[in-house]
């Protein structure tokens, strides 16, 4: 008790602040307009990240002993997350209609944010699990915010997978914790590979994180949830929240455990497959949803190879993806052709950046990632530029055709500014951080070979986009493999099958039989009652008893 905490309280403050902001809607008077404070929620985290994520905190009494410390790469992750959340919050504050539902949205927004930040600060598995659960489950509310049938259905799918992921995660963490006899993430990670059932634990972890990270084939929720969620929700989901799964993989998978290969293979499949599948979509948000699947696939490949560029790549991806999703919202809000054009230009630039077109930030991210990879993967990474360009190009095409619901001009400006900020950051920030993230010199990205490697896939991709536009790809429902699953609602009604009736019938029969036997036993005394018989038994019994008594022995 003497030391309720040890260390610096700053990490805790970073997490608690969003929670406090989240309490604003609890006050009924503030509830309707609570969304307005959302941009404030991530600010301490941003500052914390800019300060280099200093400090470590140990709270022995809380939970099972909470340990907060920045995970490796946390600065970048935190910065990205905070930025995306800030801008998305800004967007939300401007667009969401005031009212009680907005209040709920605001509350859970903050909770999700806290969880999202928490996964980068957790030092022990329980805290990590808590943060992970918060980010997974609270995001449910972000998905279903619109309460349309589509949103609710998407929410159902989302929560199902999220819960499955949580369960898997729990198994993995428990196996790890039991093996390590310690709750610190580092110990658990070390213990996992040798633990009895460690492989099962790792598999469970891969599944759990994979679901969150949109790893093929567990990515199902992404393409369904994104179109259904409100724009800021989609932005944080694909920009920041998916990174929670990624950081999990980074934190928990021990080196050389064999699971790396699995990640690489699945990552490649996702990286290319998802991008191509995105072409079957018409809704730009759905198309865009396949992009993070593909990008996360590439990130998983990086995780699998143990590359140091994961955080750097994720930074760019998060910012860019956030900008793109917000762009959709901005476009919808656009009132004039001019505005639309502006949005499309910005989106296009960001898209090219994601595809790795030098000298945008995306190219740097890719270059940093390629450093030290085997040649095959380098090629794959380069090739992924084609698919990325393809899918994002297709996205832009679809985006351009999107119907608008114009918003007032000043509002649009705000929205556009937010989008612009993120886009700019996506383009510029990698340059700023290049020296930190990579051992390579600052001019390395500008080398011609690298420039070329950046350019040709994009050009090829643009060609393909043209091809696709000419021959429209088939239009499919979002959620690809979902179609393979049997249609099943989550609400299971009371069972009223034939079995129940049968059982009831049988019970009734037994009950009748028992009742009849009982009624018959009512007459059981009658044979004993007449005196001649009873007396006979009595006197004969007396003699018999006497004989029994007198029996020798």
């Amino acid at each position: 008790m003497s030391a309720f905490y040890q260390g610096s309280l700053v990490p805790l403050a970073v997490l608690v602040w969003p929670l406090l902001v989240g309490l604003v809607p609890v006050v009924p008077r503030w509830r309707a307009r609570a969304v307005r404070v959302l941009p404030l929620a991530p600010l301490p985290a941003l500052g914390f990240a800019m300060a280099g994520a200093p400090g470590e905190l140990f709270l022995p009494d809380l939970m099972l002993g909470v340990h907060l410390a920045a995970v490796p790469g946390a600065t970048l992750f935190l910065a990205m997350t905070a930025l995306v959340w800030t801008v998305a919050g800004w967007h939300a504050a401007l667009t969401l209609r005031a009212g009680p539902q907005a209040g709920i949205f605001a509350g859970f927004w903050c909770l999700t944010l806290a969880g999202n930040l928490g996964v980068f600060l957790a030092g022990d598995v329980v805290t990590f699990y808590l943060a992970f659960a918060a980010v997974s489950l609270a995001a449910w509310f972000l998905v279903v915010h619109d309460r349309t049938a589509k949103a609710l259905a998407a929410g159902r799918l989302y929560i199902t997978l999220a819960v499955l992921g949580e369960a898997a995660l729990l198994v993995g963490l428990m196996i790890g914790a039991a093996a390590a006899d310690d709750l610190r993430i580092s110990s658990v990670r070390e213990a996992l590979s040798d633990a009895p059932m460690g492989q099962l634990g790792l598999a469970a972890l891969v599944v759990g994180f994979g679901i969150k990270a949109g790893m093929v084939p567990l990515h199902l929720w992404l393409p369904v949830a994104h179109p259904a969620a409100p724009v800021p929700g989609s932005a944080v989901l694909s920009g920041a929240i998916v990174k929670a799964g990624l950081i999990g993989m980074v934190l928990f998978l021990p080196q050389l455990s064999g699971w790396q290969d699995v990640l690489i293979v699945l990552g490649l499949v996702g990286g290319f497959g998802a991008a191509l599948w995105g072409l079957t979509q018409r809704n730009p948000k759905a198309v865009l949803a396949y992009s993070p699947v593909s990008q996360m696939g590439l990130l998983l490949v990086l995780v699998g190879t143990g590359s140091g560029g994961v955080a750097y790549y994720a930074l760019h991806h998060g910012l860019a993806k956030g900008a793109l999703f917000l762009g959709v919202g901005v476009l919808i809000a656009a009132a004039t052709r001019q505005q639309r054009r502006a949005v499309l230009v910005v989106a296009g630039i960001v898209a090219l950046s994601v595809a790795g077109l030098p000298p945008a930030g995306g190219a740097l991210a890719k270059l940093a990632a390629k450093d030290g990879l085997p040649a095959v993967l380098v090629l794959a990474l380069t090739l992924s530029g084609v698919t990325t360009t393809l899918v994002l190009g297709w996205f832009l095409v679809r985006l351009a055709q999107l119907e608008a619901r114009p918003e007032p001009r000043h509002l649009w400006r705000g929205l556009f500014a937010g989008c612009m900020v993120l886009a700019a950051l996506a383009l510029v920030l990698p340059w700023v951080l290049w020296e930190q993230a990579s051992a390579l010199p600052l001019h390395y990205p500008l080398r011609s070979v690298n420039l070329l490697a950046g350019f040709w896939p994009v050009l090829l991709g643009i060609g393909c986009v043209a091809l696709v536009c000419w021959r429209n790809p088939p239009a499919l429902q979002p959620g690809d493999m979902l179609a393979l699953l049997p249609e099943r609602g989550m609400v299971v009604g009371p069972k009223q099958g034939a079995e129940g009736r049968l059982r009831r019938g049988a019970t009734a029969r037994y009950r009748r039989m028992a009742l009849r036997a009982l009624l018959r036993s009512r007459r059981a005394d009658i044979p004993l009652q007449p005196w001649p018989r009873a007396g006979l038994v009595l006197f004969a019994g007396a003699l018999a008893l006497a004989a029994l008594i007198g029996r020798p022995g």
């Binding site: 009658i526 009652q529 007449p530 005196w531 001649p532 007396g535 006979l536 006197f539």
Partner: protein
Amino acid sequence: MSLTVFAMTGASLVGLGIYGLLALPQLLRRIISFNLIGSGLFLFLGAAGARGEAVDAVPQALIITGIVVALAASALAVGLVVALARRSGLVVLPDEANPR
């Protein structure tokens, strides 16, 4: 020897009474049978008590008590029989009556 004769008579009376008790449904006759059993037992006791050099008075006292008690029981039983007959017209217990 005489005592044995009386004792055997007593035993036989008991047997006879038991037969009557079990075989006769008419309640007054059943009461008679009870009395037969009782007096048979007393006869047996009396004979046993007379075996010693002097006649034992204790059994006689017991027997007198027993006879009085038997009378009391018989009186109540007879009263019950009469009351039952008056109430329901039966001189046997219902479950031993003629099947209707």
